[in-house]
């Protein structure tokens, strides 16, 4: 990671980002019945973010902002950098240059002695508390049953008591329709069931930002709808900031406020789903949508 002085144009955390990236928590009205997180949702901002793999520049000074609670879908041809964006936000990759902001804090850098230095593990741990991710291949832990997949993080990371974690896990499994699978082993579940457990596992950590990377593309066709319906409900009932990569246009339309069309690490076009899917302005978007619809 480059030292701070190579990016003098990036603001220090004291200089407020140009748009508000933190939503003030809504006053608590009726106690919410869903086990979904509410309130205090941060936004996201990419500022001149550069990501390279060897000589391959995947993201070239990428700029974009996601407002608090906004739900954004990333579309674009394979290899355009969508997964890389989510992996950067989950700290599974490091930026080569530029800054990623979550709320008013930099994900990739931290303050030390008035200088901005690359984040250490402690800072990353702090920042990851806000972010959850669901993977294409589910990635449940095969050495734990469903219940422990859901309680391991809350108990050992959030410090929740085991009873409370189990209670919360039951609530989440109820929500994803798998209450009867609490003692099952991941290998005993279908792909769709595994993905629903993975969604519940991510939500059990009470993230403010949820990242979904083609979460239905590894599923058999008949299982896709169930998972999509679940995510639609979650999007509707929570104020999570949502970044979703998907090739399912109906789903993208239902779930997102805004669609970003990527090609070669750049945003080609953005707009509300009706516009991007109904009346795209760019030829590259039209070509891409045509290719997706053809399959």
């Amino acid at each position: 990671m480059p030292p701070t002085d190579t990016t003098p144009e990036a603001p220090t955390p004291e200089e407020a980002p140009k748009t508000p990236l933190s939503k003030t928590p809504l006053p608590e009205t009726a106690p919410s019945k869903t086990p979904l997180p509410h309130g205090d949702t941060p936004g996201i901002r990419f500022e001149k973010v550069v990501k390279r793999f060897g000589g391959n520049v995947v993201l070239r000074e990428l700029d974009f902002t996601v407002a608090p609670g906004e739900r954004v879908t990333l579309i674009g041809p394979s290899g355009s950098g969508k997964t890389t964006i989510l992996r950067l936000l989950m700290t599974l990759e490091k930026v080569d240059d530029g800054v990623i902001w979550i709320g008013d804090r930099s994900l990739s850098h931290m303050e030390r002695g008035g200088r901005r230095v690359p984040a250490n593990e402690k800072h990353l741990h702090e920042m990851r508390k806000q972010v959850g991710m669901v993977f294409q291949q589910f990635n449940l832990f095969p050495n734990m049953n469903v219940l422990r997949n859901l309680t391991e993080g809350p108990v050992h990371v959030l410090g929740v008591s085991r009873d409370e974690a189990v209670e919360r896990a039951r609530g989440l499994l109820d929500m994803v329709g798998l209450a009867d699978k609490i003692d099952a082993h991941p290998s005993q579940l279908s792909g769709g069931q595994q993905q629903r457990v993975a969604i519940a596992r991510a939500l059990a950590m009470q993230p403010k930002v949820l990242l979904l990377d083609e979460v239905t593309s590894a599923l058999d066709p008949e299982l896709v709808v169930g998972v999509q319906d679940l995510l639609r409900d979650i999007a509707r009932q929570s104020d999570l900031t949502l970044l979703c990569v998907t090739h399912e246009m109906h789903f993208a339309r239902d779930i997102s406020d805004r669609v970003l069309m990527f090609d070669q690490g750049q945003i080609v076009e953005e707009g509300p789903p009706e516009q991007i899917f109904g009346d795209p302005a760019e030829q590259r978007t039209r070509d891409f949508l045509q290719a997706v619809l053809a399959t």
Binding site: M90, T91, L92, Q136, Q137, N139, P142, E152, H156, Q188
Partner: protein
């Protein structure tokens, strides 16, 4: 031959010593394997270097030479070990070096996606290792550990050279007393074989348990989905 059979209790006592040596050395080797194997997978340069040094040094050193060194050389600088202690230390250090490589390789062979899921749940590096990577790596470690355990048991035969009365030692004694070379060695070959089979049974049992933990075998009374679902190898796909 009947002389040999009369002295069978002597051989039994010898095999009891052999078994004890094997167990003590294996426990030490296992602890060292885990310690240096895990260190070998960390990001830090210093712990990795320490692990490398341990593995290269003790893998290259013959257990017999190590044992002689602990038993005959260290007393010269005032460190006196019992023969048993010297033997366990030598075998443990030697086989721990092989085991550390098994542990390191097994941890590195756990799918990267598991590590990433653990990061996404915000587990700390130590929690990722202890709760996600190591438990899954155990399944990969057990078969090579089974081989090493039997290798170790056979290697204990050298301890007769530092006056420990193991199975090999008793056999030499008996041969000197009776002159029945063929019968004596045939008998202890069978006894070593039986011990090896006992150890193998233990490893197999552990393998079955780990497989069940990882959902690779049906639990008691529960059919496994993978065997029920029509033609679906790798249902629980790993990415």
């Amino acid at each position: 031959m009947s002389d040999v059979l009369d002295s069978f209790p002597l051989l039994l006592r010898g095999s009891w010593i052999t078994l004890q040596l094997t167990v003590y050395s294996a426990v030490l080797a296992l602890a060292l394997s885990l310690l240096f194997g895990v260190l070998g997978t960390t990001r830090g340069l210093a712990p990795r270097a320490v692990s490398r040094f341990y593995v290269e040094f003790f893998r290259g050193a013959p257990a017999l030479v190590l044992m002689f060194w602990f038993f005959y050389s260290l007393p010269l600088i005032g460190l006196r070990f019992t023969p048993m202690f010297a033997a366990v230390l030598a075998l443990g250090l030697n086989y721990g070096a092989y085991g550390a490589e098994v542990v390191r390789g097994s941890i590195n062979a756990v799918p990267k996606a598991q590590y990433e899921a653990a990061v996404a749940l915000n587990l700390t590096p130590a929690q990722r290792m202890r709760r996600v990577l190591l438990p899954q790596a155990v399944a990969l470690m057990l078969p090579p550990f089974g081989n090493l355990l039997i290798e170790l048991m056979k290697a204990t035969a050298v301890v007769s050279l530092v006056t420990i009365a193991d199975l090999m030692f008793r056999a030499q004694q008996l041969r000197a007393a009776t002159g029945e070379t063929a019968a004596v060695f045939a008998t202890i070959l069978v006894m070593y074989f039986v011990i090896a089979q006992l150890l193998q049974l233990l490893v197999r049992y552990l393998e079955r348990r780990t497989d069940r933990m990882l959902g690779r075998r049906p639990r008691k009374g529960q059919p496994e989905l993978r065997t029920v679902a029509a033609g679906a190898p790798g249902v629980g796909g790993v990415g």
